[in-house]
């Protein structure tokens, strides 16, 4: 008889288990285990990942969990059968049901717990062990143990013995053996594994400290105290129990043999397939499509009508053949629900009521059925979009459908879907927050008791998502030698690497939902999310996909929210709503702006890289924009598609008869729309089919293998198939390999054409709104923050440069959100200016701002700051922020005077014991002392206060104030435009964006802004390494370098960087750097 480990924790026992499931099974295989159980705390978060990995290593996985009972005692439950698994899922769901307090869902989780009687009720198909050495039920409550022993019966209940080499093991195990004898049940030995290897036990100690929110020194009681809760060879485990109860150790394999349930087999998941309706699902779907077809193609040409009808028939046949009618009907039903939600959210009279509630993203946009069921708004026939990737005859799993919604609709829709299908049948998919550099530095450093300031400095400097690189970063610190003399810092280096990638806690996926016709709570446990009405299942998208669950992605898209807000504002101001589906798609003025890269704020084409590309590609049509949004992505960049595409566009502008080069004539047709290069994901399929004779299914397999870069062996086997297939079409090996290399370079990081078409259209619509309704568009963008490439301050500066007037927040005029206010000028007559909303003021939340506006609307404008303080239900901090942020400038008094007066105002106080219901009124007395003569704020102070309090300033730019003090020869952005190519220049600006793409070999791209415009910087990697702290942390910079002009693109290749913070501090006589907004960072850190 050998030993089987029946009690083992992975890192999915959050902040307790120190090893990933893969590490556990790899180690178990190495030590000679044939079977292994995973019993994480109150969950099966990692069970499917574990089961799949175990099978790869030839180990039989056992599913289980260590469950916390009401009162805190633990029991170990192991799954014997499918029924047992369903019961375990129900038990875990029940355990988590009370972890969020109603109305306080966002607070910290309460510990999961389950009543003993629920376990009794759902005991079928499970084997129960009496729990661990420290918190096991067997020790804590022998009476309750007896109750469970009776419920499970002597063949399914065991008293659990452990030997963690703690003081008291002997007595405890004797006690437990006595209990087993008394209950007439047998004992079983377990190891309570928390790490796969002894060296990982240090991390286990650290995890306990993090969980206890203290240092290692502060959690001695909670820590294990030695390195014995580690996976040991089976023989050693039997030996460990030799003097205690050897039979208990040997019994493990007999129990394991009974635990036959296999999580990797069919779980019985079915999505609602509409098979219970009066007609077959395919007929229901055909009816829905036919109805919509008649409406959508009523006015189309006969040719389009016929092609579309043929495409619809073809798709319906394919859908019927694949048995996917229910799948489409389910999505249609969700979208119908979204329509109802949209009507509710937007209001039945809102101008937004004409807009579709959401739009498709990804490959679903290529389907006419999706178009007719409302899942996408792009006509795939008119736009020549292929269906290939979405559904094909070789499909092995259900396709994904991604739907984008404005945020407000999405918020309600998630709850509505849960309620529509029932809380037992629908839940959000989980994600697991894993440790990256900053989290690892802060958490591990705090546990080790390292100085907070040093950790923060390191966290700010850290340069990567991968916490495994923190050790090198510590070694590169100027005082590394001194630091590394300390054991704590040495341990820090090792442990930040160990913790890298380990899950820290469960969180909710941005919008993925699973819906099941069989109760989902019998397939995977479900627990409440941190937002009211939402619940999440315990598996992430990979586990859900492995289990064959259908995931519907309901995604929130900030730009959709902004566009809707903009449409609503326009309708309100001008009396007539605009229908974005009917705007001209070839507006020359809009394309002129796009071609000039005047696109700050436009969807997808606003980034620094996109702007530089726009100046060279010069998009002229909506199709060009479709390519454009897909072009500046890692796939086309690594696939070496960008420069040939740009060059082809240039040549075509000069000579419309120019024919772009292709690697082989067979590729000319599949790559025609992108001038001979691979820009879209679907083209990977098209190329593989055209040049190597792949079937659609094979090509899709290649695309999937590419999106999983780890599967190098799989990619190479596809190469062989690709080259041999190409040879069959008379393509030489060198060409085939070159094409294949480009496809691999493209990898998975590209858009499908259909996705790009949806995004390209939104890019155009947003550009159109930006051009024709600049004030309304800016207002909508400010209200939809956070989103996009630029911080609000830069959006405002850009709009101001284009003639939009922006007004500061004003307690007597502003709404809670940004709004549009009439503004009359002598030259332009009545125009609309953007009035910054009160919620933009720091410390004033949306609720506070709305309460202030309600008070103003009910009882009239505020007379002065004292009146405001008495009437508005705001905290003193919020009132001070309003004054400092300029929202009280309307009272005509200096900000310092108003702050002084604010300090003297008597405000109504709550009567103690009334919970704030009763207020003690104040006497309307004037202050007894005069306001002293306080100096007014300087221009610097006013500007910095604006930035500090609202994140933006509508007044003077910091560079305008700093310019007279800059070193001679420092150019402005405007002067830089006239500089000679190759000349040495100096430039000063405010950093607004910083980008370090993983494809750029360490080069950092920065965008700086001054009072006149923006300037692009290229910071070579060696310059970045030399000035890393300045690049990453300083807002005001003086750079020197070489000015480069390529076509219309202008860059400065940076040689040196200096911080201007000290100069600004001297000039402003105060802290400047700390008040200015931090640059947005994108990509690799």
């Amino acid at each position: 008889m050998t030993y089987v480990e029946l009690h083992c924790h992975s890192a999915y026992s959050f902040l307790d288990g120190a090893s990933l499931p893969e590490e556990l099974v790899a180690r178990a295989a190495e030590l000679g285990y044939e079977t292994l159980a995973l019993t994480d705390h109150d969950g099966v978060y990692g069970s499917l990942e574990f089961a799949r990995a175990a099978k790869d290593f030839g180990i039989r996985p056992i599913t289980g969990a260590e469950v916390t009972l009401a009162g805190g005692a633990h029991i170990t439950l192991l799954v014997e059968s499918s029924r047992g698994y369903a019961n375990l899922c129900r038990l875990l769901t029940a355990a988590h049901a009370g972890t969020r307090l109603p109305g306080r869902e966002d607070r910290a989780l309460l510990p999961p717990a389950i009543p003993l009687e629920t376990v009794v009720e759902l005991s079928a198909g499970l084997i129960c062990l009496s729990g661990c050495a420290r918190q096991g039920l067997g020790l804590r409550d022998p009476t309750a143990t007896a109750r469970l022993a009776q419920a499970f019966g002597r063949d399914r209940f065991y008293v659990e013995l452990q030997r963690p080499f703690e003081r008291g093991d002997t007595r405890r195990n004797r006690q437990l053996r006595d209990l087993a004898e008394h209950l007439g049940v047998e004992t079983v030995a377990t190891g309570n594994i928390h790490a796969h290897h002894p060296r990982r036990t240090l991390l286990q100690d650290v995890l306990v400290a993090i969980r206890s929110r203290t240092s290692l020194d502060g959690c001695e009681q909670e820590r294990r105290g030695n390195r014995e809760s580690v996976m040991r060879p089976p023989a050693e485990m039997i030996e460990r129990f030799a003097g205690i109860d050897k039979a208990a150790a040997e019994r493990t394999s007999a129990i394991a043999e009974r635990l036959e349930f296999d999580l990797t087999q069919e779980l019985g998941y079915r999505y609602p397939d509409f098979s219970d309706g009066p007609d077959p699902a395919i007929q229901q779907l055909a009816e829905v499509c036919s109805y919509a077809f008649a409406e959508r193609y009523a006015t189309s040409t006969a040719e389009l009508h016929n092609r579309s009808r043929a495409r619809l028939d073809e798709e319906l046949n394919l859908i019927d053949e694949l048995g996917l009618a229910g799948f489409f009907l389910l999505h249609w039903e969700v979208l119908e629900l979204a329509r109802e939600v949209a009507l509710d959210v937007r209001g039945r009279d809102s101008p937004r009521r004409f807009l579709p509630p959401g739009r498709g993203r990804g490959s679903s946009v290529g389907s006419i059925v999706c178009y007719l069921t409302g899942l996408s708004h792009v006509d795939p026939v008119a736009n020549d979009l292929s269906l290939g990737r979405f559904i094909n005859r070789e499909l092995t799993s259900v396709p994904d459908i991604d739907l984008d919604f404005p945020r407000d609709i999405r918020e309600k829709l998630i709850v509505a879907v849960t309620e529509r299908y029932g809380r037992e049948h629908a839940a959000l998919v989980a994600t697991f927050a894993t440790y990256r550099s900053r989290g690892a530095i802060r958490d591990v450093g705090k546990a080790l008791g390292l100085p907070y300031a040093e950790l923060e400095r390191l966290a700010r400097l850290t340069d990567g998502w991968n916490a495994g690189r923190v050790a090198d970063e510590v070694a590169a610190l100027p005082d590394a030698d001194r630091k590394l003399m300390s054991r704590r810092w040495r341990a820090f280096q090792v442990l930040t690497g160990d913790i890298s990638g380990l899950p820290r806690h469960i969180s909710q996926h941005p919008g993925g939902m699973v819906i099941s016709s069989r109760p989902l709570v019998e397939l995977v446990p479900v627990q409440p999310a941190a937002m009211a009405g939402r619940q999440i299942c315990q598996w992430d998208k990979d586990s859900c996909s492995d289990a064959g669950f259908l995931k519907i992605d309901l995604l929130g898209l900030g730009m959709l929210s902004a566009v809707e807000d903009c449409v609503e504002q326009i309708a309100r101001l001008y009396g007539a709503p605009i229908d974005l589906s009917r705007i001209p798609l070839d507006d020359p003025a809009v394309f002129a702006e796009i071609q000039a890269a005047d696109t700050v704020g436009a969807f997808q084409i606003e980034s620094r890289a996109q702007m530089q590309s726009l100046l060279r590609t010069k998009p002229e049509t909506i199709d060009d924009l479709t390519v454009q949004v897909a072009l500046v992505r890692p796939g086309p960049i690594q696939g070496k598609a960008v420069h040939p595409y740009i060059e082809a566009r240039r040549r075509l502008r000069e000579d419309p008869s120019f024919v772009p080069d292709v690697d082989h004539e067979l590729l000319r047709e599949p790559l025609r729309s992108t001038h001979g290069v691979v820009v879209f994901q679907d083209q990977v399929l098209d190329v593989a089919i055209a040049i190597a004779g792949f079937t659609v299914g094979e090509a899709e397999g290649l695309r999937r293998a590419m999106s999983r870069k780890r599967s190098h062996a799989a990619l190479e086997s596809y190469r062989e198939r690709f080259v041999s297939g190409a040879a069959g079409k008379s393509v030489d090996g060198e060409t085939a390999n070159r094409v294949y290399d480009k496809l691999v370079g493209f990898s998975g990081f590209g858009f499908p054409k259909s996705h790009a078409a949806a995004f390209g259209l939104l890019a155009y619509q947003s550009s159109w709104l930006r051009h024709h309704y600049p004030a309304e568009f800016l207002c909508a963008l400010l209200n939809a923050q956070p989103m996009g490439f630029y911080p609000p301050a830069s959006l405002v500066r850009d709009a101001q440069r284009r003639g939009v007037e922006v007004l500061p927040p004003d307690v007597n005029v502003s709404d809670a959100r940004c709004s549009l206010a009439p503004c009359v000028s002598e030259t332009q007559g009545l125009r609309w200016a953007v009035q910054v909303g009160l919620a933009y003021v720091a410390s004033v939340g949306k609720d506070d701002a709305e309460a202030l506006v309600a008070e103003r609307e009910e009882r009239g404008p505020f007379l002065d700051v004292a009146d405001l303080a008495r009437r508005a239900p705001l905290s003193r901090a919020a009132l001070e922020a309003l004054v400092q942020g300029g929202a009280c400038d309307c009272f005509g008094e200096k900000r310092r005077d108003q702050l002084w007066q604010l300090g003297l105002v008597f405000r109504p106080q709550s009567v103690p014991g009334t919970g704030g219901q009763a207020k003690q009124l104040t006497l309307s007395l004037d202050p007894t002392v005069e306001t002293p003569d306080l100096p007014d704020l300087t221009r610097w102070e006013l500007m910095l206060a604006d930035y500090r309090q609202t994140g933006l300033s509508v007044g003077v730019h910091p560079l305008e104030l700093l310019r007279p003090h800059l070193p001679p020869g420092t150019l402005s952005s405007q002067e830089l435009n006239d500089a000679k190519h190759g000349s040495d220049v100096a430039y000063a600006g405010l950093a607004i964006a910083r980008q370090r793409p993983s494809t750029a070999k360490g080069i950092v791209f920065m965008l700086l802004e001054d009072e006149l415009g923006q300037v692009n910087l290229i910071v070579p990697s060696q310059v970045y390494e030399r000035h890393r702290a300045i690049v990453r942390g300083e807002p005001l910079l003086l750079i020197r370098g070489r000015f480069e002009r390529v076509g219309e693109n202008r860059n400065v290749l940076v040689a040196t960087l200096e911080s201007l913070s000290a100069l600004a501090r001297r000039v402003a006589e105060g802290d400047v750097a700390g008040s200015l907004p931090r640059a947005h960072h994108f990509g690799h850190r």
Binding site: G168, T201, E220, G225, N226, R487, R488, A491
Partner: protein
Amino acid sequence: MHVDGSPRLVNRLLVAFVREEWRVVDRWWTDEPVNRRYFEVILESGQNTCVYRDAEAGCWFSQRA
């Protein structure tokens, strides 16, 4: 010391019985790490005592049981 690492003699007295063994590996992050194997033993004299082998120091110590 026996092959399994338990003590054979304590203060020149034979160990009659090992009542319990436990291990402490702690404070590894400090300059004074602890790595000890404790034994609570009964000596042939009938005396109950506690000894530990300190892996850091490489020697045995006794303490009151």
